[in-house]
C-alpha cells in the first residue's frame, strides 16, 4: 500500500497533513494527539484537524454491526475527502480505513473513494519513516523502554520496523526487547468487555513479560492496547508505565 513516488513527492512538497484522531484518543488520552501534532510540526508539516470527525466506525464493525458502521465510514470519507494525506496515531484505526472500508463499502458508490483514502491514510510511525523519510525526530527520552507490537499495525499494516527505527533514534532511550513482543495484549475492542476474564488473563501475561524486561516504560503505536495494559499494570501496582510512541517522540530535551 505504498504511495507511488510521484504521490510521495507531491505530499512532501505540500508539507500538509490532516490529523485523524480516534475517538478514544480524543476523549481519554488527548495528549497522544497533542504530541502527534507536536512531532508533525517539528518535522516540518502543517497540521489540520477536520473538526467534523468523530469515529471511524470500528467498534460497530468489529462487533458485527456493519449496517451501523457503514454510515460512520461514509461520514469519515466526506470529512477527509479533500485531505491530501491523513495521519493517525493508531494502527488499528488506520487499518479500519485502509483495510476494512473497501469491504464495508463494497456495494456503496463510495467504495472507490474509500480505496483512494485508504492509500492516503497512514499510521504515525509509518508516515514518519516511509513518507516523511525521517527516523530521527529530535526526541530525548532518557529511560528504559520496551516495545509491544500492536496486532493491527503488525499484521494488517505490516508495520514491523518503523516504530523501532524511530525509537532507536531517540536520545538517551534504552530499548529492551520483551519476549513474545508480538503476542496480543488482550484488548480486542468489545472483546475486553465481553470476555473480561480472558482479556485480563492475556493482559496479565503481557504484564509479566513487560516486568521481566525491567523497563520503566512499555510503548506501542496504539492507545487502545496501552489503556488496557495500563489498567492491568495499575491493578497489579507494577512499576512499569505505558506511554504512546507519540508521547516519547514528542519529548524534547528540557
Amino acid at each position: 500500500m505504498l504511495a507511488t513516488n510521484s504521490e510521495r513527492l507531491e505530499q512532501i512538497v505540500q508539507h500538509r497533513v490532516s490529523l485523524f484522531v480516534p475517538c478514544f484518543v480524543d476523549q481519554l488520552v488527548p495528549e497522544v494527539a497533542v504530541d502527534t501534532v507536536k512531532i508533525l510540526r517539528r518535522v516540518g508539516y502543517q497540521v489540520d484537524f477536520p473538526e467534523a470527525q468523530t469515529c471511524c466506525g470500528q467498534p460497530a464493525f468489529n462487533t458485527g454491526y456493519w449496517d451501523d458502521a457503514r454510515p460512520c465510514a461514509e461520514m469519515f470519507l466526506r470529512v477527509f475527502k479533500h485531505a491530501d494525506v491523513v495521519v493517525c496515531p493508531s494502527g488499528s484505526c488506520t487499518t479500519m480505513v485502509r483495510s476494512f472500508y473497501p469491504e464495508l463499502l463494497s456495494s456503496s458508490p463510495l467504495r472507490a473513494d474509500a480505496i483512494a483514502l485508504g492509500r492516503r491514510t497512514f499510521e504515525l510511525s509509518e508516515f514518519l519513516v516511509k513518507l516523511a523519510g525521517v527516523t530521527d525526530v529530535g526526541a530525548t527520552f532518557p529511560h528504559t523502554v520496551t516495545y509491544h507490537a500492536s496486532c493491527h499495525g503488525l499484521r494488517e499494516l505490516q508495520l514491523r520496523d518503523q516504530p523501532l527505527q524511530l525509537l532507536r533514534k531517540v536520545n538517551g532511550l534504552t530499548l529492551i526487547e520483551m519476549s513474545r513482543f508480538d503476542e496480543c495484549c488482550g484488548f480486542g475492542g468489545t472483546f475486553a468487555a465481553k470476555f473480561e476474564s480472558i482479556s485480563v488473563a492475556m493482559g496479565d501475561s503481557k504484564a509479566e513479560t513487560v516486568a521481566a524486561t525491567g523497563a520503566e516504560f512499555v510503548t506501542a503505536i496504539d492507545s487502545s492496547c496501552l489503556l488496557h495494559l495500563q489498567g492491568i499494570l495499575g491493578k497489579r501496582n507494577a512499576p512499569a508505565r505505558t506511554i504512546h510512541l507519540a508521547s516519547i517522540l514528542a519529548q524534547e530535551k528540557t
Binding site: 476523549q27 497533542v34 462487533t63 458502521a69 480486542g188 472483546f191
Partner: protein, 472 residues
Amino acid sequence: MSATAAQRFLQDAAVKSADLVHREIILHGLESYDAAVLRGRARFKDWEAARRRCQEIKWEAVNHLDRYLLQFEERVIAHGGHVFWAANGEEACNYIKNLASRQGVRTVVKSKSMVTEEIHLSPALEKAGIKVWETDLGEFIVQLRNEPPYHIVTPAMHLNRGQISELFREKLGEDIHGDDPTELVAAARRKLRRAFFAAEMGISGANFLVADSGLIALSTNEGNGRLCTSVPRIHVAVTGIEKVIPRLEDLAYLWPVLATSGTGQPITTYSTLIGGPRKPGEPDGPDEFHVVLLDNGRSKLLADAEQREVLHCIRCGACLNICPVFRHIGGHSYGTTYQGPIGSVLTPHLRGISDFQHLSYASSLCGACTSVCPVKIDLHHHLLHNRRNAARAGTTKLSERIMFRVWRYIILHPRIYALTGWLARRTLRLLYGLGLAGSIVDPMRVWNRRRSAVPLPSESFRTRWRKGLATN
C-alpha cells in the same frame, strides 16, 4: 441451549484462564513447539512459496470438489474398496455400526481422527457393545480420562508426565515408578498390543484423499496408524469430504508443510498411502476397505463463496498453538470438537450459528492465526464475517443492537458526540472521585473491575485544538 453453550464457555474460560498451573504446562509445551516450527520453516527454501502452493492446491480441490470426489470414489471402487457417502454423523455412525454387526466385530482399534470425534463414533459403537481402543498415545490418555481431545493434533497437551504416570497407575493397574516417558510408553504399548491383535476392525481418519490415484494419505508419528489399517480384517477410514486433493504429487508439498506446521518435523515419522483391501499375493492389509465420506454441514460451507476457503484446513493445529486465547483458556473450554481459531470459525457452520456464535466473538482479532496458517485461510477475518452474519441474522442481544444504534446516532452528530463525551467524562469523574470505579453503579465496571480506572481528562483533544493548538 444457546445460552447454555455460551455460558458454559464463559465459565470454563474464566476458570482456565486463571489457572496458572495450566498456563505453565501449555506455555512450556508451546515454547518447544515454537522453536521446532521456526527451525522447520527455515528448512524450506521459501516457506511463503510453499504456503502459497498448498493454498492453490486446496483451492483447486475445494472449488472442484464434485469432480475430485467422484474421481476418488471411482478409483477406490476399482481397487476393491467401498465408499459410503454420509450426509451427517448419524448416517456415518449407522453405516459403521451395521458393518460391524454384520461382520461380528467385538473390538475396534482406532488411530487418531477428529472426524470420528465430530460424529461421536466411539460412544455410538460402545453403545452397540463394541469395545473401542484409541491407539494414538495422546488419544489413549484422554480416553482413559474420559475426556475429549484437548487439541486437534496433541490431544493430551494439557497433561504433564506426572499426571499421566498417575493415570496409568490408576487405570491400567501398572506398577509404574516415576514419570520416565519410555516407561510410560511401554506401559501403553503393552496394553494396546493385545488390542491390535484382538481387533476385527480398524478405524482411521485420513489427512488427504488423493483423487487421481484413489489413495488415502495418513500422517502419523507412532506407527499405530499402520497397525490399525493393516492388522484387523476390516479397515474403515472416516473423513470429511474436504480432504480430497487432485494429484498424488501434491503430497510433495502438503506432507512436509503439514508436518512442519503441526510439529516442526520435516515430515511425520510415518507417511502412509492406503489404496484398498489386500490383493491376492500381498503380504498384509485388510480383507475389506471402506471409506466413509462425511458431509455434516461441509457442503453448506461450500455453498458460501465468502467462507468456502475454511474447507482448505488441513488440521495442522498451528492456529491453535499461536492463538493467545487458546493459550490462556485451553482446548476444553471451547466445548467443541475443533478448538482454537479454526474451531471458532467452523463450529457455527457445523453446529449452528445461534448456539456457537459466541466463539466468533471470543477473539481479539489479533490475526496471529492467519499469519501462520499453512494454507493461508483468512481465519480472523472469517471470525469477523461470522459476527456480521450473526448481527445480520438478528441472533445478537437486543440490548447490544440498541446500544449500537444509539452509538451510531452519536457518532454521526459531531456536536452530540462532543457533548456526550464531555458529560460522560464529567459524570464518571464524579463517580470515581467517590471511589466508585468498578462498583455496581459504574457503567464502565466490566472494564474497571479488574483493571485500574480509565483516565478521564477534563478536556478532549478537540477542545484543546480549539483552545489554541490549532494555530500552526
